[in-house]
Each structure stands twice: as structure tokens, then as C-alpha cells.
């Protein structure tokens, strides 16, 4: 039978293309939401380790911690921290959006929900910037 003789062609592309997660050739807002959620998630894990490192100096006494936190007053680190605010707010809000989608709530409005998430993220970041600087 033909079907049994049929030999599957070897895929030309590698089977696992991580690039597709981070590719910017997205077709819709949902694709962007996914990309940003994944990216911010990875950044937050990295930040978690950094946060642990910073706080680990607490175990080495007052001086170690105070010496390190002096660095945090620098404008560059403040700017990074502002980025952190944006990343956290986005990840949290989009997380809520994903939860709603899973409960089959607002699936037809998922794009609008993404824009709302983005708007609140930007707004919060601006407010945080006003507090910081």
C-alpha cells in the first residue's frame, strides 16, 4: 500500500525553533502579549537572583549592605529600576489577562485587553518615574 511505503521527509528546519517565541514577525496583538510575557518572565527570574544577591549582603553585616546600596542611588541603576517597574507591572497585568482568557472570559476582546494592559503599564511607569526622579 502506498501509505505504508510512504517515507516521511526529513524536516528541513530544525524541529525546535526557539526563535519563533521571540520573533517579531507577530500576526496580532496576542502574539506580542505572548512575546512580552515570556521576555518579562525571564527577566524577572534573573532579577530574582540579583535581588537575592543584593540581600545576601545583609548576612555579612551592616557595612556590606550599606556599601552596596550606596550604588543604588546612581541614575543608571534608578533607570534600570524603572525598567523593572514596567516589567513587573506588565507581567502581572498580562498574567491576569491570561487567567481571564483561560476562564473563557473576554476571548473576543483579548486584543483590547492587551492594549489596556499596555496603557496601564506605561501609565504606572510614568508615575513611578515621577516618584523616583
Amino acid at each position: 500500500m502506498l501509505a505504508e511505503e510512504y517515507k516521511r521527509p526529513e524536516p528541513l528546519w530544525p524541529k525546535k525553533r526557539l526563535g519563533e517565541w521571540f520573533s517579531i514577525a507577530k500576526k496580532g496583538a496576542g502574539g506580542w502579549a505572548f512575546l512580552l510575557h515570556r521576555l518579562t518572565g525571564i527577566l524577572l527570574v534573573l532579577y530574582l537572583f540579583l535581588h537575592f544577591y543584593v540581600l545576601s549582603t545583609l548576612s555579612r553585616g551592616a557595612n556590606a549592605y550599606d556599601n552596596l546600596t550606596v550604588l543604588m542611588e546612581s541614575p543608571f541603576l534608578l533607570l534600570l529600576e524603572l525598567g523593572l517597574v514596567a516589567v513587573i507591572v506588565y507581567h502581572g497585568l498580562n498574567g491576569i489577562r491570561l487567567m481571564l482568557l483561560t476562564l473563557n472570559v473576554g476571548v473576543k476582546q483579548q486584543k483590547e485587553m492587551f492594549w489596556v494592559v499596555m496603557a496601564i503599564t506605561i501609565l504606572t511607569t510614568i508615575i513611578a518615574a515621577l516618584f523616583m526622579f
Binding site: 527570574v45 537575592f52 550599606d66
Partner: protein, 111 residues
Amino acid sequence: MAQRGSLAWLWQAFTGLLLVILLTLHMIANHFMANGLLTYEGIIQHLSNPVVLVLEILFLTSVIFHAMSGIRALILDWGVSKSVDNTVTRVLVVIGVLMLAYGVWLFTVIL
């Protein structure tokens, strides 16, 4: 473990929701109630409040769970085999427990 997929998802969602609430409290407590967490003294004073301490430990636990579960989801998405997934999950559990233990130890050292 047929239900692992949904359970993993539900826990991730639950801790995620918890984090949204706890992080809001964490930020309010750390930036508006405490007077200066950039000094050792400030931290000790801040953590002497038992409510803050409990919230911080709850926050620590859920953030570690959420992060480890997120890493696992990422690796699973990469299409790894069942055995690799199991190994990864075990390693992540160990890392998570170590991080939690370290965090709690850090609290005890300070206080």
C-alpha cells in the same frame, strides 16, 4: 499524572494572583511605610513588624514557586522528553527549596 498540566497551570495562576496582591503590599510597605530600606538599620526596623515579616515570607514562597514553575514551563515548551521534564522538575524543586531555606535563614540572621 494526567492532570499535571492543569494542576501546574492552576498553581501558576494562583501564585500569580497572590503575587499581584502581595507585591502591591510589598511595594506599599517597602516604599511608603518603611523609612529607608537602603540602610541595614532601616531593614531591621521594618522587619520587626510581625505583619510585614509574615507577608514577606509568604511573598518569598510564592515568588520562588512561580519562578521555578515558570522556568519549568519554558523548558517543557521546548519539547523535551518526559524523563528530561521529570529531571528538570526535580532539580527546580531542589533549587526552589534551597532558595526558600536561604531566604528564611536570611530573615533569622537579621532579626
